[in-house]
Subunit: 233 residues, 2 copies
Protein backbone atom coordinates (compact mmCIF):
# COMPACT_ATOMS: atom_id res chain seq x y z
CA UNK A 1 0.00 0.00 0.00
CA UNK A 2 1.23 3.45 -0.51
CA UNK A 3 -1.71 5.67 0.25
CA UNK A 4 -0.34 8.79 1.72
CA UNK A 5 -1.60 10.77 4.68
CA UNK A 6 -0.63 14.07 6.22
CA UNK A 7 -0.73 13.79 10.01
CA UNK A 8 -0.79 16.82 12.28
CA UNK A 9 1.68 16.01 15.02
CA UNK A 10 2.11 18.14 18.12
CA UNK A 11 4.05 15.45 19.93
CA UNK A 12 1.31 15.06 22.54
CA UNK A 13 -0.51 11.90 23.54
CA UNK A 14 -3.46 12.35 21.17
CA UNK A 15 -1.61 13.28 17.99
CA UNK A 16 1.07 10.63 18.56
CA UNK A 17 -1.61 7.97 18.94
CA UNK A 18 -3.31 9.34 15.84
CA UNK A 19 -0.07 8.93 13.90
CA UNK A 20 0.27 5.35 15.15
CA UNK A 21 -3.26 4.63 13.95
CA UNK A 22 -2.64 6.13 10.51
CA UNK A 23 0.45 3.97 10.26
CA UNK A 24 -1.38 0.86 11.42
CA UNK A 25 -3.89 1.45 8.61
CA UNK A 26 -1.05 1.24 6.10
CA UNK A 27 -0.62 4.92 5.26
CA UNK A 28 2.70 6.36 4.27
CA UNK A 29 2.76 9.20 6.79
CA UNK A 30 3.86 12.79 6.31
CA UNK A 31 3.98 14.45 9.71
CA UNK A 32 3.40 18.17 10.10
CA UNK A 33 4.23 20.24 13.19
CA UNK A 34 4.14 23.97 13.85
CA UNK A 35 6.43 26.37 15.57
CA UNK A 36 4.01 29.17 16.40
CA UNK A 37 5.72 30.76 19.34
CA UNK A 38 3.98 28.46 21.83
CA UNK A 39 5.49 28.65 25.29
CA UNK A 40 5.66 24.86 25.34
CA UNK A 41 8.08 24.59 22.45
CA UNK A 42 9.42 21.55 24.17
CA UNK A 43 6.61 19.77 22.31
CA UNK A 44 8.48 20.23 19.03
CA UNK A 45 11.30 18.08 20.33
CA UNK A 46 8.72 15.48 21.30
CA UNK A 47 7.20 15.69 17.82
CA UNK A 48 10.61 15.07 16.27
CA UNK A 49 11.22 12.00 18.40
CA UNK A 50 7.76 10.56 17.88
CA UNK A 51 7.99 11.11 14.12
CA UNK A 52 11.28 9.29 14.04
CA UNK A 53 10.14 6.46 16.28
CA UNK A 54 7.04 5.94 14.14
CA UNK A 55 9.03 6.00 10.96
CA UNK A 56 7.29 8.74 9.04
CA UNK A 57 8.23 9.33 5.45
CA UNK A 58 8.81 13.04 6.01
CA UNK A 59 8.37 15.45 8.93
CA UNK A 60 8.06 19.18 8.44
CA UNK A 61 8.05 21.85 11.09
CA UNK A 62 6.39 24.95 9.68
CA UNK A 63 6.96 28.33 11.26
CA UNK A 64 3.81 30.36 11.84
CA UNK A 65 3.87 34.07 12.40
CA UNK A 66 0.69 34.19 14.51
CA UNK A 67 2.01 35.05 17.98
CA UNK A 68 1.93 38.68 16.81
CA UNK A 69 -1.86 38.51 16.89
CA UNK A 70 -1.84 37.53 20.57
CA UNK A 71 -5.10 36.55 22.21
CA UNK A 72 -3.94 33.29 23.81
CA UNK A 73 -2.20 32.18 26.98
CA UNK A 74 -0.04 29.91 24.83
CA UNK A 75 1.47 32.70 22.75
CA UNK A 76 1.02 35.92 24.75
CA UNK A 77 1.57 37.13 28.26
CA UNK A 78 -1.66 35.69 29.63
CA UNK A 79 -1.65 33.23 32.50
CA UNK A 80 -2.16 29.51 31.86
CA UNK A 81 -4.85 28.26 34.29
CA UNK A 82 -3.47 25.84 36.87
CA UNK A 83 -4.91 23.34 39.29
CA UNK A 84 -8.44 23.28 37.89
CA UNK A 85 -10.75 20.45 38.82
CA UNK A 86 -11.16 17.81 36.14
CA UNK A 87 -14.90 18.52 36.07
CA UNK A 88 -14.26 22.17 35.42
CA UNK A 89 -12.18 21.51 32.30
CA UNK A 90 -14.25 21.62 29.13
CA UNK A 91 -16.92 23.90 30.59
CA UNK A 92 -16.33 27.13 28.76
CA UNK A 93 -13.32 27.87 26.59
CA UNK A 94 -10.14 28.65 28.56
CA UNK A 95 -7.50 31.31 27.75
CA UNK A 96 -5.23 28.64 26.27
CA UNK A 97 -7.52 28.71 23.23
CA UNK A 98 -5.52 29.98 20.23
CA UNK A 99 -7.72 31.86 17.75
CA UNK A 100 -8.25 29.86 14.55
CA UNK A 101 -5.37 27.54 15.39
CA UNK A 102 -6.76 24.31 14.00
CA UNK A 103 -7.99 26.16 10.92
CA UNK A 104 -4.48 27.46 10.29
CA UNK A 105 -2.97 24.03 11.00
CA UNK A 106 -5.43 22.19 8.76
CA UNK A 107 -5.05 24.79 5.98
CA UNK A 108 -1.32 24.07 5.89
CA UNK A 109 -1.94 20.34 6.01
CA UNK A 110 -4.31 20.74 3.08
CA UNK A 111 -1.68 22.62 1.08
CA UNK A 112 0.93 19.94 1.64
CA UNK A 113 -1.56 17.13 1.08
CA UNK A 114 -2.61 18.57 -2.25
CA UNK A 115 0.99 18.82 -3.43
CA UNK A 116 1.89 15.23 -2.50
CA UNK A 117 -1.44 13.69 -3.53
CA UNK A 118 -2.47 12.71 -0.04
CA UNK A 119 -6.22 12.79 0.43
CA UNK A 120 -6.36 11.86 4.09
CA UNK A 121 -5.47 14.39 6.74
CA UNK A 122 -5.25 13.08 10.29
CA UNK A 123 -5.73 15.27 13.34
CA UNK A 124 -5.67 14.30 17.03
CA UNK A 125 -8.75 16.36 17.89
CA UNK A 126 -10.79 15.03 20.78
CA UNK A 127 -14.08 16.32 22.13
CA UNK A 128 -14.49 14.14 25.21
CA UNK A 129 -11.64 14.77 27.64
CA UNK A 130 -10.67 18.13 26.21
CA UNK A 131 -10.47 21.82 26.95
CA UNK A 132 -13.66 22.83 25.15
CA UNK A 133 -11.91 24.30 22.12
CA UNK A 134 -14.52 24.84 19.40
CA UNK A 135 -12.15 23.71 16.65
CA UNK A 136 -11.96 20.21 18.13
CA UNK A 137 -15.64 19.44 17.59
CA UNK A 138 -16.99 17.10 14.92
CA UNK A 139 -19.21 19.77 13.34
CA UNK A 140 -16.16 21.97 12.86
CA UNK A 141 -14.10 19.18 11.32
CA UNK A 142 -16.92 18.30 8.92
CA UNK A 143 -17.22 21.94 7.89
CA UNK A 144 -13.49 22.15 7.24
CA UNK A 145 -13.62 19.00 5.13
CA UNK A 146 -16.51 20.35 3.07
CA UNK A 147 -14.67 23.62 2.51
CA UNK A 148 -11.41 21.83 1.61
CA UNK A 149 -13.13 20.04 -1.25
CA UNK A 150 -14.28 23.34 -2.72
CA UNK A 151 -10.94 25.06 -2.15
CA UNK A 152 -8.57 22.85 -4.04
CA UNK A 153 -7.63 22.09 -7.59
CA UNK A 154 -7.17 18.39 -6.81
CA UNK A 155 -10.74 18.07 -5.52
CA UNK A 156 -12.35 20.30 -8.14
CA UNK A 157 -10.60 18.44 -10.95
CA UNK A 158 -11.74 15.13 -9.47
CA UNK A 159 -8.32 13.71 -8.58
CA UNK A 160 -9.73 12.80 -5.18
CA UNK A 161 -11.71 13.98 -2.20
CA UNK A 162 -10.04 15.15 0.97
CA UNK A 163 -11.01 13.51 4.23
CA UNK A 164 -10.33 14.93 7.65
CA UNK A 165 -9.79 11.96 9.94
CA UNK A 166 -9.93 12.34 13.70
CA UNK A 167 -9.70 8.84 15.19
CA UNK A 168 -9.36 10.21 18.76
CA UNK A 169 -12.50 12.31 18.44
CA UNK A 170 -14.80 10.40 20.77
CA UNK A 171 -12.34 8.42 22.88
CA UNK A 172 -11.79 9.14 26.56
CA UNK A 173 -8.24 9.88 27.68
CA UNK A 174 -8.21 6.47 29.29
CA UNK A 175 -9.05 4.83 25.99
CA UNK A 176 -6.41 6.90 24.22
CA UNK A 177 -3.71 5.73 26.66
CA UNK A 178 -4.81 2.12 26.14
CA UNK A 179 -4.91 2.48 22.36
CA UNK A 180 -1.43 4.05 22.34
CA UNK A 181 -0.02 1.16 24.37
CA UNK A 182 -1.71 -1.47 22.17
CA UNK A 183 -0.06 0.18 19.16
CA UNK A 184 3.31 0.20 20.87
CA UNK A 185 3.68 3.99 21.08
CA UNK A 186 6.54 4.92 23.40
CA UNK A 187 4.68 7.40 25.57
CA UNK A 188 7.86 8.56 27.25
CA UNK A 189 8.59 10.42 24.02
CA UNK A 190 5.34 12.41 24.09
CA UNK A 191 4.76 15.80 25.65
CA UNK A 192 1.49 17.38 26.74
CA UNK A 193 2.26 20.19 29.20
CA UNK A 194 1.35 23.75 28.20
CA UNK A 195 3.69 25.42 30.63
CA UNK A 196 6.91 23.54 31.37
CA UNK A 197 9.07 24.57 34.31
CA UNK A 198 12.39 26.31 33.61
CA UNK A 199 14.02 22.90 34.19
CA UNK A 200 11.90 21.42 31.41
CA UNK A 201 9.55 19.37 33.54
CA UNK A 202 5.83 19.11 32.91
CA UNK A 203 4.00 21.38 35.35
CA UNK A 204 1.42 18.75 36.25
CA UNK A 205 -1.20 21.41 36.87
CA UNK A 206 -2.29 22.88 33.56
CA UNK A 207 -5.43 21.50 31.92
CA UNK A 208 -3.37 19.46 29.51
CA UNK A 209 -1.35 17.80 32.30
CA UNK A 210 -4.49 17.19 34.34
CA UNK A 211 -6.29 15.54 31.43
CA UNK A 212 -3.26 13.43 30.61
CA UNK A 213 -2.69 12.32 34.17
CA UNK A 214 -6.34 11.41 34.64
CA UNK A 215 -6.10 9.24 31.52
CA UNK A 216 -3.10 7.32 32.77
CA UNK A 217 -4.64 6.97 36.20
CA UNK A 218 -7.92 5.63 34.82
CA UNK A 219 -6.03 3.21 32.60
CA UNK A 220 -4.02 2.05 35.62
CA UNK A 221 -0.73 2.79 33.89
CA UNK A 222 2.22 4.82 35.11
CA UNK A 223 2.88 7.97 33.08
CA UNK A 224 6.53 7.72 32.03
CA UNK A 225 7.16 11.46 31.92
CA UNK A 226 8.32 13.47 34.93
CA UNK A 227 6.19 16.14 36.55
CA UNK A 228 7.28 19.05 38.68
CA UNK A 229 4.42 18.39 41.09
CA UNK A 230 2.63 15.16 41.66
CA UNK A 231 -0.53 16.36 43.26
CA UNK A 232 -3.60 14.19 43.20
CA UNK A 233 -5.72 14.74 40.12
Amino acid sequence: MDRRAVVLLSGGLDSSTTLAIARSEGYECYALSFDYGQRHRRELEAARRVAEALNVRDHRIVRLDIAQFGGSALTADIEVPKGRELEEIGRGIPPTYVPARNTIFLAHALAWAEVIDAFDIFIGANCIDYSGYPDCRPEYLRAFEYMANLATKAAVEGRGRFHIRAPMLTLSKEDIVRRALELGVDLSLTWSCYDPTPEGLACGQCDSCILRRSGFEAAGVEDPIRYAKREAV
Copy 2:
Protein backbone atom coordinates in the same frame (compact mmCIF):
# COMPACT_ATOMS: atom_id res chain seq x y z
CA MET B 1 -18.72 54.26 13.48
CA ASP B 2 -15.96 52.04 14.57
CA ARG B 3 -16.85 48.67 13.21
CA ARG B 4 -13.63 46.92 12.42
CA ALA B 5 -12.73 44.85 9.39
CA VAL B 6 -9.74 42.76 8.46
CA VAL B 7 -8.95 43.25 4.77
CA LEU B 8 -6.72 40.88 2.83
CA LEU B 9 -4.45 43.14 0.80
CA SER B 10 -2.10 41.86 -1.86
CA GLY B 11 -1.55 45.32 -3.30
CA GLY B 12 -3.21 44.37 -6.58
CA LEU B 13 -6.11 46.07 -8.29
CA ASP B 14 -8.84 43.89 -6.78
CA SER B 15 -7.73 43.87 -3.15
CA SER B 16 -6.90 47.58 -3.20
CA THR B 17 -10.38 48.37 -4.51
CA THR B 18 -11.84 46.03 -1.88
CA LEU B 19 -10.02 47.98 0.82
CA ALA B 20 -11.36 51.24 -0.57
CA ILE B 21 -14.89 49.82 -0.45
CA ALA B 22 -14.52 48.63 3.14
CA ARG B 23 -13.31 52.08 4.05
CA SER B 24 -16.16 53.77 2.18
CA GLU B 25 -18.59 51.68 4.22
CA GLY B 26 -17.14 53.18 7.38
CA TYR B 27 -15.03 50.30 8.63
CA GLU B 28 -11.87 50.84 10.59
CA CYS B 29 -9.59 48.72 8.44
CA TYR B 30 -6.87 46.29 9.50
CA ALA B 31 -4.95 45.25 6.39
CA LEU B 32 -3.25 41.88 6.18
CA SER B 33 -0.63 40.86 3.62
CA PHE B 34 1.54 37.77 3.27
CA ASP B 35 5.13 37.16 2.45
CA TYR B 36 4.97 33.58 1.22
CA GLY B 37 8.00 33.42 -0.99
CA GLN B 38 6.06 34.60 -4.02
CA ARG B 39 8.27 35.55 -6.93
CA HIS B 40 6.35 38.79 -7.24
CA ARG B 41 7.32 40.10 -3.84
CA ARG B 42 7.19 43.49 -5.38
CA GLU B 43 3.49 43.31 -4.51
CA LEU B 44 4.32 43.68 -0.81
CA GLU B 45 5.75 47.12 -1.49
CA ALA B 46 2.54 47.96 -3.33
CA ALA B 47 0.51 46.67 -0.39
CA ARG B 48 2.43 48.91 1.98
CA ARG B 49 1.83 51.98 -0.14
CA VAL B 50 -1.83 51.25 -0.72
CA ALA B 51 -2.39 50.60 3.00
CA GLU B 52 -0.80 53.90 3.83
CA ALA B 53 -2.65 55.82 1.13
CA LEU B 54 -5.96 54.38 2.29
CA ASN B 55 -5.24 55.17 5.89
CA VAL B 56 -5.63 51.76 7.47
CA ARG B 57 -5.55 51.51 11.23
CA ASP B 58 -2.89 48.78 11.15
CA HIS B 59 -1.14 46.78 8.44
CA ARG B 60 0.53 43.46 9.12
CA ILE B 61 2.71 41.45 6.80
CA VAL B 62 2.71 37.86 7.95
CA ARG B 63 5.43 35.46 6.89
CA LEU B 64 4.23 32.10 5.64
CA ASP B 65 6.44 29.09 5.43
CA ILE B 66 4.58 27.42 2.55
CA ALA B 67 7.03 27.71 -0.33
CA GLN B 68 8.65 24.56 1.07
CA PHE B 69 5.58 22.62 -0.07
CA GLY B 70 6.06 23.75 -3.68
CA GLY B 71 3.39 22.93 -6.21
CA SER B 72 2.96 26.41 -7.70
CA ALA B 73 4.60 28.54 -10.36
CA LEU B 74 4.48 31.43 -7.89
CA THR B 75 6.64 29.77 -5.25
CA ALA B 76 8.58 27.01 -7.03
CA ASP B 77 10.63 26.59 -10.14
CA ILE B 78 7.66 26.14 -12.45
CA GLU B 79 7.10 28.43 -15.41
CA VAL B 80 4.49 31.19 -15.25
CA PRO B 81 2.35 30.96 -18.42
CA LYS B 82 2.82 33.94 -20.71
CA GLY B 83 0.96 35.44 -23.64
CA ARG B 84 -2.23 33.45 -23.29
CA GLU B 85 -5.37 34.62 -25.03
CA LEU B 86 -7.86 36.38 -22.80
CA GLU B 87 -10.46 33.73 -23.68
CA GLU B 88 -8.11 30.98 -22.59
CA ILE B 89 -7.70 32.41 -19.09
CA GLY B 90 -10.12 30.91 -16.60
CA ARG B 91 -10.59 27.69 -18.54
CA GLY B 92 -8.87 25.17 -16.34
CA ILE B 93 -6.68 26.01 -13.39
CA PRO B 94 -3.20 27.26 -14.34
CA PRO B 95 0.14 26.43 -12.62
CA THR B 96 0.06 29.78 -10.81
CA TYR B 97 -2.53 28.22 -8.51
CA VAL B 98 -1.06 28.00 -4.99
CA PRO B 99 -2.46 25.02 -3.05
CA ALA B 100 -4.85 26.14 -0.30
CA ARG B 101 -3.63 29.73 -0.52
CA ASN B 102 -6.86 31.54 0.19
CA THR B 103 -7.67 29.06 2.95
CA ILE B 104 -4.34 29.85 4.62
CA PHE B 105 -4.85 33.59 4.06
CA LEU B 106 -8.41 33.59 5.40
CA ALA B 107 -7.44 31.40 8.36
CA HIS B 108 -4.90 34.03 9.41
CA ALA B 109 -7.40 36.81 8.82
CA LEU B 110 -9.86 34.94 11.02
CA ALA B 111 -7.29 34.64 13.81
CA TRP B 112 -6.56 38.34 13.76
CA ALA B 113 -10.21 39.27 13.39
CA GLU B 114 -11.15 37.22 16.42
CA VAL B 115 -8.49 38.89 18.55
CA ILE B 116 -9.49 42.44 17.59
CA ASP B 117 -13.25 41.82 17.56
CA ALA B 118 -13.66 42.37 13.85
CA PHE B 119 -16.45 40.29 12.38
CA ASP B 120 -16.07 41.27 8.75
CA ILE B 121 -13.25 39.89 6.66
CA PHE B 122 -12.84 41.39 3.21
CA ILE B 123 -11.17 39.56 0.33
CA GLY B 124 -10.66 40.71 -3.26
CA ALA B 125 -11.73 37.39 -4.75
CA ASN B 126 -13.28 37.61 -8.20
CA CYS B 127 -14.81 34.85 -10.28
CA ILE B 128 -15.50 36.69 -13.52
CA ASP B 129 -12.23 37.93 -15.01
CA TYR B 130 -10.02 35.54 -13.11
CA SER B 131 -7.64 32.63 -13.46
CA GLY B 132 -10.09 29.90 -12.52
CA TYR B 133 -8.72 29.38 -9.02
CA PRO B 134 -11.24 27.27 -7.07
CA ASP B 135 -10.73 29.29 -3.89
CA CYS B 136 -12.10 32.43 -5.54
CA ARG B 137 -15.59 31.02 -6.10
CA PRO B 138 -18.66 32.00 -4.09
CA GLU B 139 -19.38 28.43 -2.96
CA TYR B 140 -15.89 28.23 -1.48
CA LEU B 141 -16.21 31.56 0.32
CA ARG B 142 -19.58 30.55 1.77
CA ALA B 143 -18.11 27.26 3.00
CA PHE B 144 -15.23 29.08 4.65
CA GLU B 145 -17.62 31.44 6.38
CA TYR B 146 -19.73 28.57 7.68
CA MET B 147 -16.63 26.81 8.99
CA ALA B 148 -15.30 30.01 10.58
CA ASN B 149 -18.41 30.33 12.71
CA LEU B 150 -17.90 26.82 14.08
CA ALA B 151 -14.16 27.26 14.58
CA THR B 152 -14.00 30.24 16.85
CA LYS B 153 -14.65 31.10 20.45
CA ALA B 154 -16.11 34.49 19.53
CA ALA B 155 -18.75 32.92 17.29
CA VAL B 156 -19.51 29.96 19.53
CA GLU B 157 -19.92 32.22 22.56
CA GLY B 158 -22.23 34.47 20.57
CA ARG B 159 -20.07 37.60 20.52
CA GLY B 160 -20.74 37.87 16.80
CA ARG B 161 -20.87 36.06 13.50
CA PHE B 162 -18.04 36.27 11.01
CA HIS B 163 -18.81 37.37 7.48
CA ILE B 164 -16.55 36.85 4.51
CA ARG B 165 -17.13 39.82 2.22
CA ALA B 166 -16.01 39.74 -1.40
CA PRO B 167 -17.33 42.90 -3.05
CA MET B 168 -15.34 42.23 -6.26
CA LEU B 169 -16.76 38.75 -6.65
CA THR B 170 -18.99 39.27 -9.65
CA LEU B 171 -17.55 42.44 -11.16
CA SER B 172 -15.73 42.46 -14.49
CA LYS B 173 -12.20 43.87 -14.53
CA GLU B 174 -13.61 46.85 -16.37
CA ASP B 175 -16.06 47.48 -13.54
CA ILE B 176 -13.32 47.06 -10.97
CA VAL B 177 -11.18 49.72 -12.66
CA ARG B 178 -14.16 52.08 -12.77
CA ARG B 179 -15.06 51.40 -9.14
CA ALA B 180 -11.46 52.01 -8.05
CA LEU B 181 -11.38 55.35 -9.84
CA GLU B 182 -14.76 56.42 -8.42
CA LEU B 183 -13.36 55.70 -4.95
CA GLY B 184 -10.22 57.68 -5.66
CA VAL B 185 -7.80 54.75 -5.45
CA ASP B 186 -4.40 55.73 -6.80
CA LEU B 187 -3.92 52.83 -9.20
CA SER B 188 -0.29 53.76 -9.84
CA LEU B 189 0.40 52.32 -6.38
CA THR B 190 -1.06 48.89 -7.18
CA TRP B 191 0.77 45.89 -8.55
CA SER B 192 -0.66 42.87 -10.35
CA CYS B 193 2.16 41.15 -12.26
CA TYR B 194 3.13 37.60 -11.26
CA ASP B 195 6.56 37.69 -12.81
CA PRO B 196 8.28 41.09 -12.78
CA THR B 197 11.35 41.65 -14.94
CA PRO B 198 14.72 41.97 -13.20
CA GLU B 199 14.32 45.74 -13.61
CA GLY B 200 11.07 45.58 -11.65
CA LEU B 201 8.67 46.19 -14.52
CA ALA B 202 5.41 44.32 -14.93
CA CYS B 203 5.87 41.63 -17.59
CA GLY B 204 2.64 42.50 -19.39
CA GLN B 205 2.19 38.88 -20.47
CA CYS B 206 1.24 36.79 -17.46
CA ASP B 207 -2.45 36.08 -16.87
CA SER B 208 -2.61 38.69 -14.17
CA CYS B 209 -1.15 41.42 -16.43
CA ILE B 210 -3.41 40.40 -19.29
CA LEU B 211 -6.54 40.53 -17.13
CA ARG B 212 -5.52 43.88 -15.69
CA ARG B 213 -4.70 45.41 -19.04
CA SER B 214 -7.96 44.21 -20.55
CA GLY B 215 -9.81 45.90 -17.68
CA PHE B 216 -8.14 49.24 -18.22
CA GLU B 217 -8.62 48.96 -21.96
CA ALA B 218 -12.32 48.17 -21.64
CA ALA B 219 -12.77 51.06 -19.20
CA GLY B 220 -10.98 53.36 -21.65
CA VAL B 221 -8.45 54.39 -19.03
CA GLU B 222 -4.67 54.43 -19.21
CA ASP B 223 -2.96 51.99 -16.83
CA PRO B 224 -0.51 54.11 -14.84
CA ILE B 225 2.01 51.32 -14.27
CA ARG B 226 4.84 50.52 -16.65
CA TYR B 227 5.06 47.29 -18.57
CA ALA B 228 8.11 45.64 -20.08
CA LYS B 229 6.15 44.79 -23.22
CA ARG B 230 3.12 46.51 -24.55
CA GLU B 231 1.73 43.90 -26.86
CA ALA B 232 -1.90 44.01 -27.81
CA VAL B 233 -4.14 42.21 -25.35
